[in-house]
């Protein structure tokens, strides 16, 4: 490759040809950008490109993965035994708790006047491994090793064993990109578990904190409050733990309280997470209904035009400055209330075939 300039045998004027080619490529990039951003024509192209990129990503991932494997297989007997004992204790606790859970679920069903207790809202789940590569240092994204062939769809909820992690944004055949709840472009509709107050948790560009920017200064919230998903927004079902409030700052001159919360999921240390499919007909299911063209993406938080169809049935509600009225018992999905959620997910129809 040392052949400077001799490799190309084109007798074209250098300046002119470079300028022409620059215009060509620049136009092409702009057209691609336009199509991708405004028209969402390029989902298929992205799908193919993502498939093509996956081997490289796996190759990059292989040294860390090999290192992990080596470390795990060289662990001593004592370490393994200790871990085994710990896991057994955890399992015992969980079983104890789930015993109680079944009783509670039945009781809840009776209270609601339902004949039988409802099945759990999560229909099935699939563990996925994080491909440890750096997607972009400026954004909070992950790559996981499950894709469309596993039935993963765009806008799917991703959890770990402690809480919510995020949702899928781009799905390739064998891989998917996950936007974390801590990405500044991501917002989760949440409910304060203690009071039932609903608000929105926005990412803060670092893996250890979320911001709750839309709470009035007199809102009933304090450190240690648990935030759970409110079920609005059509992506996450109701009642999954998201974060714990760490810091409430009330300023007399500010109309809004400044609230920080720490995500419960171990976002920066996880190596495995769960993709969850939810029952669409369950009361706790995501409000928009999983199958039928959910409006993911919120016009108010996206400067670009959202497809008219996506926002048609209800004008997208701006992030409420005051608290939303505590209407409707938390568990009933309030249909089509288009809350601000997942500003990243482009308003494209979900091609979900779980």
């Amino acid at each position: 490759m040392a052949a400077f300039g001799t490799g190309a045998g084109r007798p074209l004027g250098r300046g002119g040809s470079a300028g022409f080619r620059f215009t060509l490529y620049a136009l092409l990039s702009v057209v691609i950008m336009y199509l991708d951003q405004r028209q969402h024509y390029l989902e298929q192209l992205r799908y193919v490109l993502q498939a093509a990129a996956y081997p490289i990503q796996l190759a990059v991932n292989s040294p860390p993965a090999a290192w992990r494997w080596l470390r795990e297989s060289l662990q001593t007997r004592e370490v393994l035994q200790a871990e085994n004992a710990r896991l057994r204790a955890v399992q015992r606790d969980l079983e104890l708790r789930s015993m109680r859970y079944e009783a509670l679920a039945r009781e809840n069903g009776e209270l609601r006047g339902l004949a039988a207790a409802l099945p759990p809202v999560a229909e099935r789940w699939l563990p996925a491994e994080i491909v440890s590569i750096q997607l972009s240092s400026l954004r909070q994204r992950l790559l996981i090793d499950r894709g469309a062939v596993n039935g993963v769809f765009k806008g799917q909820a991703v959890l770990d064993d402690k809480g919510l992690i995020g949702q899928t944004t781009h799905v390739g055949p064998w891989s998917a990109e996950v936007i974390l709840i801590t990405d500044p472009e991501h917002a989760v509709p949440v409910r304060i578990e203690r009071t039932g107050l609903r608000t929105i948790a926005v990412g803060n560009a670092d893996t250890t904190s979320l911001a709750l920017p839309y709470l009035p200064a007199n809102a009933d919230i304090k450190g240690g409050d648990l935030l759970v998903t409110s079920g609005l927004g059509g992506v996450f079902p109701e009642g999954y733990p998201v974060a714990r409030v760490t810091e409430v700052h009330r300023d007399a001159v500010q109309p809004l309280a400044q609230v920080r919360a720490a995500p419960l999921a171990h976002i920066d240390t996880d190596s495995e997470l769960l993709l969850v499919w939810f029952r669409a007909d369950h009361p706790a299911a995501p409000a928009a209904g999983a199958g039928s063209e959910p409006k993911s993406g919120n016009a108010a938080m996206q400067p670009q035009a959202v497809k008219p169809r996506a926002a048609a049935p209800h004008p997208a509600v701006a992030p409420p400055l005051a608290t939303p009225p505590p209407a409707a018992p938390p568990a009933t999905p309030s249909p089509r209330s288009a809350p601000p959620e997942a500003p990243t997910a482009e308003a494209a129809p979900q091609q979900g075939e779980p």
Binding site: F4, G5, G7, G15, L28, I32, A53, S132
Partner: protein, 149 residues
């Protein structure tokens, strides 16, 4: 060239601790700049476009974003390649610094227009390290190219 591109891509995607990650030079951009300066006919714009598209798949919120920025930067490099090539590596590094600033600014602008703004100062960190890394990186690439010829 392909090998160098692959290595650069791997270096771009390699997981690093966050504090180091801010300082990670944009290896793929440096690689494109090197070939634009030293082999403007074969490298240059086409390579820049393809590399940019790859970067878009890896980390872009919008397809075509990195492609546009890289095509612009490599066009500048191709146009000025004779002048740059004859300079000592310190002055080359200054040019690279300017090119990286332009590159990052294009990304910054497109991020803003497309509704994915990232306004932290961290995004500019790599321009400095990129310029610092340029002399050794160029030397390595030149060595590799010399051996293959």
């Amino acid at each position: 060239m392909l090998l160098a591109a692959l290595v650069a891509l791997i270096l771009t995607a390699l997981p690093l601790p966050p504090w180091l990650d801010i300082l990670r030079p944009a290896f793929l951009v440096l690689m494109v700049l090197y070939w634009s300066v030293n082999a403007p006919r074969t490298g240059g714009l086409g390579l820049g476009f393809l590399a940019g598209l790859t970067l878009d798949v890896f980390q872009g919120p919008v397809l075509g974003e990195h492609a546009l920025a890289l095509v612009l930067v490599s066009y500048l490099a191709v146009r000025e390649h004779q002048r740059i090539r004859s300079k000592p590596s310190f002055q080359q590094a200054l040019f690279v610094f300017a090119a990286l600033l332009i590159y990052e600014f294009v990304l910054f602008a497109i991020d803003g227009w497309s509704g994915h703004p990232v306004t932290s100062l961290q995004r500019w960190g790599h321009t400095v390290t990129g310029a610092l890394v340029w002399p050794p990186a160029a030397a390595i690439l030149a060595y590799g190219a010399g051996r293959r010829a």
